[in-house]
């Protein structure tokens, strides 16, 4: 596993021309982005059947923007990678695109937008990609400018991949300092695969957070196989090797040690017997 992308290179370099194309052609990626974008728009709680003027922060090649167009909204996208924006242009997305660095602040007039979404972008702001970068300062510049260019009462929803809880802490504290209220909504918190983090920020004063999906454990995470632990156990039994720590496994291991010439106790009727389960 290559690890987190933001540890490999700054976003404008990581998303070079090849990566930009790969990212956008990947059907699994497209499906995930579509689902997350639709959920983000849902969390925006926009007035029904009203076309809105939205901003897509870290819009990349326009995968999330297309959801906005589909729902009848007019959007502007900002991204730092010209390669990704180039792909967006090729795909003829409806939204207007701007090449910009979120950490430098958003260059828009007060109250310009009715809402903001961001899919898989915020974690990139938490790393210092240049010596002069101070992530906390950049996050603050970003959130204050975002607060300014959103009309009163509108929201910003960020789907992102936090590396750890101190990153979440850093992000939320800068957002609160900038004047936002709101918090984190975690969908499918009990599933490693389906778990998704949405930071929901509001400008209109304290409001209740939307309910997360999949908190009631009876609700299955979408696109996930139920009972994945049972599947792992089946895989183990089918592999031909004895499951770990069973008597057969112990006897096989001792045989392996003897073949290696290591000193091994002789087998007896007590080898691998069930030990009493209670503690003396």
């Amino acid at each position: 596993m290559s690890g987190r992308p933001e540890h490999q290179a700054p976003p404008e370099i990581f998303y070079g021309e090849d990566e930009a194309r790969k990212y956008t052609r990947n059907t699994r990626m497209m499906e995930i982005q579509l689902v997350m974008s639709e959920r983000a728009v849902e969390l925006l709680c926009l007035p029904e059947n009203q076309p809105c003027h939205l901003i897509d922060l870290g819009c990349g090649s326009g995968l999330s923007g297309e959801t906005l167009t589909e729902q009848g909204h007019v959007w502007t996208g900002v991204d730092i990678s010209s390669a990704m924006l180039g792909v967006a242009k090729e795909r003829e997305v409806e939204g207007d695109l701007v090449l910009g660095d979120l950490g430098q602040g958003l260059p828009f007039r007060a109250g310009a937008f009715d809402g903001a979404i961001s899919i898989s972008a915020l974690q990139w702001l938490c790393n210092a990609d240049q010596k002069s970068h101070n992530p906390a300062k950049r996050l603050y510049a970003f959130f204050t400018s975002l607060y300014g260019c959103l009309s009163r009462g509108s929201r910003a929803v960020f789907q992102f991949y936090p590396e750890n809880s101190s990153q979440v802490e850093l992000i939320t504290s800068q957002a609160m300092k900038a004047g936002f209220t709101g918090g984190l909504v975690v969908d499918y918190p009990n599933s490693t695969k389906a778990k998704k983090f949405f930071l929901c920020l509001m400008t209109g004063g304290q409001q209740p957070l939307p309910t997360a999906l999949g908190v009631d454990s009876r609700e299955d995470a979408p696109n996930c196989v139920a009972f994945s632990q049972k599947r792992d156990r089946m895989k183990q039994l089918r592999s031909g090797k004895a499951p770990k720590k069973s008597r057969d496994w112990i006897l096989e291991k001792k045989e392996r040690r003897r073949r290696q010439g290591k000193e091994t106790r002789d087998d007896s009727k007590f080898t691998g017997r069930k030990r009493p389960s209670h503690v003396w």
Binding site: I80, L99, F108, R109
Partner: protein, 124 residues
């Protein structure tokens, strides 16, 4: 870059800039597209749009035509006005050119319809 986007862009993220609006436009290539007319959306945008700045921008691009220089009363129900507003806001696109900060003169190039608002480290 549509004129709607130009109307909300500023250079205020630069050091030493107070307002940074409106940005001047020098266009080398302009395109006129056909975009679906949504009267409800245009009506709501007119409240947000800086109308004098819009007229000035349209004039710079040579596309002022018969756009009224002031917002008419009761524009929500004036379909002719809304259509003219729609044409200027959504159908005129700057493909190549420069945006100019009114306070520092700094140029932001527009390439292939995308304005480059990236500032250098010493400008922020």
């Amino acid at each position: 870059m549509k004129l709607l986007t130009h109307n909300i862009l500023t250079s205020k993220c630069l050091k030493g800039v107070t307002v940074g609006y409106p940005l001047g436009i020098v266009a080398k290539e302009v395109k006129v597209n056909e975009v679906d007319f949504n009267p409800e959306f245009i009506s709501r945008m007119i409240q947000k749009v800086d109308w004098p700045a819009l007229c000035k921008a349209a004039e710079n691009l040579g596309h002022l035509d018969d756009l009224p220089l002031a917002v008419v009363d009761d524009y929500e129900n004036n379909e002719e006005f809304l259509k003219k507003a729609h044409h200027v806001l959504m159908e005129i696109e700057v493909i190549n050119g420069d945006l100019i900060c009114p306070e520092t003169g700094r140029k932001f190039p527009v390439t292939d319809g995308i304005p480059n608002m990236l500032a250098n480290e010493d400008e922020v």
